[in-house]
Amino acid sequence: MPIDYLPILVMVVVVVAFAAIALTLSSLTGPRHPTAAKLEPYESGMPPFGSARRRISIKYYLTAVLFILFDIEIIFFYPWAVLFRQLKLFGLVEMGVFVLILLIGYVYVWRKGGFNWD
């Protein structure tokens, strides 16, 4: 029943309210003395350099695509794993075939250097 999610809804409301109140209060009550250094974007203490709108390498794209594919594979694992014991041997063999086909893809990507960064 959707009503079972009421606690989650309550939590969402509390979290949003907390964030909003904390930010509003600190911006209303905190002292404000802006200087050039303070207005710089915070980059883990490093001085920022270059444009944020640089073009990134196509390697990220390959990584993201591989991530999606294996992500989808894992989704299929979940309902199978819940029932793993009742599915006996045939369930294992079927999932084995499913994984084997993707494993071949994995070997292919590996040998083609899809995981190499340089």
């Binding site: 029932l83 009742q86 599915l87 045939f90 079927e94 086909i101 071949i104 070997v107 292919y108 040998r111």
Partner: protein, 480 residues
């Protein structure tokens, strides 16, 4: 909760299984094959397709279904399987020298082509909308990549992107249609849909769902007004890929189209037959008229393939056993004819430099009389001249339409065939009547291309002169 034991029947999916295993072996072979031996991966792929064809033949008459009613090995599906395997094997014969000349000879080409073939076979033998959808995706996805396989050529990339975007769009329509049909009937199984509709009246949800299914199929087989992607994709994709998808996709998608509509949705036939008749008229007419205006052979053949989809749709409108077998025969005839035409175009190209404008064909008959003759035979067959395969195909389809009371549709089909004669003969006139253009000297036809061309032309003539055996095979296609 009791758990059923799965209904595994590997025998009836043997053709698709063999193609899949071949694809995986070729993929692993690609990793260990040195660059100069890549052509062996092509030979291996053809061997796999031949074995798959034998497997399909050994299943002839089995009429078995399996995997909980998801797929069936009936003669209708097996005939299409054979057609698809033949088109793939001929395409690979054309491809081996072609991709070498264009410096794209990578094993992935064959792997993707075989994966697409596996999807086509699944689609042609599926009896459940979910499996039809997965077959559709499995045949389409590799073709998007293959269309863009000439990565150095921006037109090839454009073809890939256009095909992908419109293909994804049409998949969405198809999936929405499946959802609505499921909502209306409570099942995705074709037999159960038919049973459910035999008992209860239709609903708006069902009609809209069926309409969306039709839109999805119409996109894939390129029916007007869902054909806009076809000329650009066929033009930009590597010529061998164009040759393959112009025939094999039609065989697979029309197979599922016929099975879904004629078998699962006879209850709504009054509605969808009228819509299909309108689409057939639009598709034939627009395809042929637009083909008249083309100066590029690939674009002309693209519009011609749209027109041929219109002719095949007439067989669906007929909705009879003869309609079904005529469509099967037509798909086979169109496959060998169109592959022959593309094969001749590839044979006349000069290495990586292709001759794609019709005026470039001037004088080809003097330089390459046999190739010119082959192209002439294929174009005459496409136009529907006897004694070639295309004539018998059109004769059967128009006959099926007249038998079922759709004579006016057959008349429009005949008129369209007359229009098409003009543009099919234009390259022929160029080849035989014009003075040779520059640059013919030193062109050698690759032996594999010659072999593919020979097989295609012999089939075109054989199917035209002795059509009876093929018609008999097509007629056995009991649909279930």
């Amino acid at each position: 909760m009791p758990i059923l034991v799965p209904d595994i029947n590997l025998r009836i999916i043997a053709p698709a299984l063999i193609v899949t295993v071949t694809a995986i072996v070729v993929l692993l072979g690609e990793l260990v094959t040195p660059a100069e031996r890549k052509r062996w991966l092509g030979y291996l792929s053809i061997a796999g397709l031949v074995v798959a064809a034998f497997a399909a033949f050994s299943l002839w008459g089995a009429n078995a279904s399996g995997f909980s009613g998801m797929v069936v090995a009936d003669n209708f599906g097996l005939f299409l399987t054979l057609t698809i395997a033949l088109s793939a094997a001929l395409s690979i014969l054309l491809s081996i020298p072609f991709i070498h000349a264009h410096e794209i000879d990578q094993g992935e080409y064959y792997v993707l082509l075989l994966a697409s073939v596996a999807g086509m076979i699944v689609m042609a033998t599926a009896t459940d909308l979910i499996v039809i959808f997965l077959g559709l995706e499995l045949l389409s996805l590799p073709l998007y990549i293959l269309a863009a396989f000439q990565r150095e050529d921006t037109r090839s990339l454009e073809a890939g992107i256009k095909y992908f975007l419109l293909g994804a769009f049409s998949s969405a329509f198809f999936l929405y249609g499946i959802a609505l049909v499921f909502g209306a009937t409570g099942t995705t199984n074709l037999a159960k849909i038919a049973a459910s509709l035999a008992q209860s009246a239709g609903s708006p949800m069902l009609s809209i769902g069926v309409g969306l299914l039709m839109v999805g199929f119409a996109f894939k087989v390129a029916l007007v007004p869902f054909h806009w992607w076809t000329p650009d994709v066929y033009d930009g994709a590597p010529t061998t890929v164009t040759a393959f998808m112009s025939v094999a996709v039609k065989a697979a998608a029309f197979g599922a189209f016929f099975r879904t509509f004629q078998f699962a949705l006879p209850a709504l036939a009054l509605d969808w037959r009228a819509v299909a008749a309108v689409l057939a008229v639009l598709t034939m007419t627009l395809g042929n008229v637009a083909a008249l205006l083309q100066s590029n052979v690939k674009r002309m053949l693209a519009y011609s393939s749209i027109a041929h989809a219109g002719y095949i749709l007439i067989a669906l409108v007929a909705m009879s056993a003869n309609g079904l077998s005529s469509a099967l025969f037509y798909l086979l005839a169109y496959t060998v004819t169109n592959l022959g035409a593309f094969g001749a175009v590839i044979a006349l190209s000069d290495g990586a430099r292709e001759r794609l404008e019709i005026k470039d064909f001037a004088g080809a008959a003097r330089e390459h009389p046999l190739v010119a003759l082959a192209l002439t035979i294929c174009l005459l067959s496409l136009a529907g001249f006897p004694p070639f395969a295309g004539f018998v195909g059109k004769f059967l389809i128009f006959g099926a339409a007249v038998e079922t009371g759709w004579a006016w549709l057959a008349v429009i089909g005949v008129l369209n065939s007359l229009v098409s004669v003009y543009f099919y003969l234009r390259p022929v006139v160029q080849m035989y009547m014009s003075e040779p253009a520059e640059g013919w000297s030193g062109i050698r036809v690759a032996p594999l291309v010659a072999l593919a061309l020979l097989i295609a032309v012999i089939s075109v003539i054989a199917l035209g002169v002795f059509p009876a055996p093929a018609i008999a095979l097509a007629a056995g296609g009991l649909i279930r």
